[in-house]
């Protein structure tokens, strides 16, 4: 157990290092932020600023000093916001995580019961309806779903606010938008996983012993079928964070995704680097949590 944890921790450090290097190089290859900060200044004025920001030094030196500062939790000052980059990102992180959490909960709460039901009622009209829903859900891009929901529920029926994040009502449409994107995948996974498990011998044995059907499904079936489902949920967390960028833009939500996208447009290196690092860390941590859930669900993992 301790060995597993140590191995994961080492992997986490390597991943963070890799991410920092790739982000740093990509940003520096994509242009000169000084021309964005001083669009009308002369070349001489720009050279002064370049020197002040340390952008005239060799890339390797810049990366070295960047890593040195990051070790102390300092990603530098945002070029445009003129405040430290890390607090700027952290301030928005709860919004993005909350949106992701709502969407994930919604997707899990609807898709998994539906998946189980379609597995149990295989080839029934419920199963066909679910298949069509899966197809539809996966074919609709997040931004389109968002705009359609907004047109129906905000503009036509006036039930929810069209955008923003100030009230709980405002969180409904974004969470449904993002959840709709993920739910079909969870539904498909739980259906196929349940079908596989329900056909196994021990399930038949349980039924033969007279165990009630719902107990067979939830206790004997679901717990074993849950392993691949949990894996997919963990992996999809990262995809959801990506989807959150689009959802945040469509619904004007002040989250980390929107901050990073805008910072990329402005070549605001410190904000992009801090943002990518924080998001990556949260994905790594969620996957770590998924590994821990495995330990609970599958004793074989514990033994190995």
């Amino acid at each position: 157990m301790t060995a597993v944890l140590v191995r994961r921790l080492i992997r986490l450090i390597v991943v963070c290092f890799g991410i920092s290097l790739v982000t740093f190089l990509l940003m520096h290859l994509s242009g000169d932020p000084v021309s964005m900060i001083l669009p009308e200044a002369t070349e001489a004025d720009r050279a002064v600023l370049r020197e002040q920001l340390g952008l005239n030094r060799p890339l390797i030196v810049q990366y070295g000093s960047f890593i040195g500062r990051v070790m102390q939790g300092d990603f530098g000052q945002s070029f445009f916001h003129r405040t430290p980059a890390l607090p700027l990102v952290l301030e928005r992180m709860p919004t993005t995580l909350l949106l992701t959490f709502f969407a994930l909960s919604l997707a899990v709460a609807t898709a998994i019961p539906a998946g189980i039901l379609t597995a149990v009622k295989r080839y029934s009209w419920i199963d066909h309806l679910a298949t069509i829903t899966v197809l539809l859900g996966q074919s609709m891009p997040v931004f389109w779903t968002g705009i359609m929901l907004m047109l129906l529920f905000a503009v036509t029926w006036g039930l929810f606010p069209a955008s923003g994040w100030e009230s709980w009502q405002a969180t409904v449409l974004p969470a449904v938008t993002l959840g709709t994107f993920q739910a079909p995948l969870f539904l498909r996974m739980s259906r196929s996983s349940m079908l596989e498990v329900l056909g196994l011998d021990y399930v038949q044995t349980a039924r033969a012993k007279g165990v009630p059907e719902w107990w067979v499904i939830t206790k004997h079936g679901l717990k074993n079928a849950a392993i691949p489902i949990v894996t997919v949920i963990g992996l999809q967390f990262g995809v959801l964070l990506g989807g959150a960028v689009v959802t945040e833009t469509v619904f004007a939500i002040p989250g980390t995704g929107r901050l990073i996208v805008r910072a990329i447009g402005q070549l605001d290196f410190p904000v992009v680097q801090a943002g990518v690092m924080v998001l990556s860390l949260s994905i790594v941590i969620v996957n770590f949590a998924v590994d821990l859930i495995y330990l609970y669900l599958n004793p074989q993992v514990r033994i190995s």
């Binding site: 021309s35 964005m36 003129r82 955008s163 994040w165 447009g265």
Partner: protein, 522 residues
Amino acid sequence: MRRDFRRRDRGTVFHGLVVLLALTALALVAAPTGRVEAAEEDKIVLALERDQDNMDPHMHFQRVGILMNINMYDSLLHKTPKLQYDPSLATEWRAIDDTTWEFKLRQGVKFHNGDAFSAEDVKFSIERVIDPATKSPQYGNIRAIKAVKIIDDYTVHLITDGPFPLLLERMVFFPIIPKKHFEKVGAQAFAESAPVGTGPYKFVEWKRDQYLHLERFEGHWRGPAPIKTFIIRVIPETSTQIAELKTGGVDIVRNLPPDLMPDLKAHPGTYVSAAPILRTHYVALDMRHPPFDKKEVRQAANYAIDRQAVIDKLMGGLGRIVPTVINPMAFGYDPTVEAYGYDPKKAKELLAQAGYPKGVDITLHTGFGHAWGRQLGEAIADMLTQVGLRTSLRIWDPGPAWNKFFQGEGKATNGFYGSWGYYSTFDADAILHPLYHTEPGGWVGKWYTRVPGLDALIDEARSTVDREKRLATYSKIQRLIKEEAPSIFLWYQYDMLGINRRIDYEARGDEWIWVYDAKLKK
């Protein structure tokens, strides 16, 4: 036993469904529609596509920042809706000689924090921007000012390093900030949490990337603004802005795409207000390389475009043809210069004369961020292709790639389609210099333009304050560029606002949204 379990199971599902339905019903009843809220309040909500980077009016270079700042800070001069100079913090002004301007300042003006406004604040504000150490992005706008001399508490002299005919235009958006307050709170707090001006609205709260909340300043020298609360909401997506406008969540939306205008005109709760603006469209041509190194090819490109068709079909009629790049609203426009007509036959003949009887392949680039600009680019590319300038259009997202590719290295051959808003400066120089002057610190001109004698003429016109002389020089310039065609000259556009019917407001020619002029309809 099994049956019992099933019955209980069904019961649980049934109860679950009832709870779910009850919760949904509760949510639907409790959800605010927004429409009622906005309509009842003494407030106006403006949607902007992005937030300002900071609230220091001297430390940005963005249209969205200008729109926020103009309502919080006053400048020395203002412009009426008809775009005539209007006294603001200065009540009188005159040129004493070619390099000295005198401004008499308004007395009894208070900043939002109660400090009295005086010449000290004007001197401090201007000197702050012209000091290179401040690194103000607006430095280039007023770098011609060499010194600010205080004559008395309410009189200042601005001394320029040579004749600077744009001075009055530049003073229309040059916010004056309070010296004492700024020195007390420091630059960071001023930009983040403690901005103070003399404008009609004062700062209450700023939630970055969400909203800016302003309240009217009761002690404003013009008298209090008609509407009490002014909120700016940041909504990046145009479709979301429109949805909010229709549901009453916002009152004004700008930069309306023409294809959405009929929808907003027909909607019972909204109307559209449009005004011609300085934003002028052109295709800058790279004169360094073939085929646009030949004048005939550049002229052919100008004859190839059916401008009126584009304006009618793609711009909803809200555009006007320009003979060159000089907008008719800008000082220096010569109405006697005629625009190139649409003559594809002549275009083909000119191409043949230039040595391209079978046409030639070219690449054009565009960095427009909105779908509408891209459609216009595609229409232009198609028209050029029809006369033999077989165009492949490369569409770039605005931002770093475009910036590096074009502004950083000037590689965007054979040309690019863009627009220029003159920084709301109603003077020919505001487009001629960036677009055509070849000095190294310049913008497009240094890469593309090679018209003999043009640099000297641009310099001549900007180095005198004599209006007649300047008009004559600009007339010469327009004839020269019409003949040499360093660009494909296109059209200028309108500012298009979508407005909630409960608000009375009209779009302005300088793209400003001056909330002091907005009123609630009774």
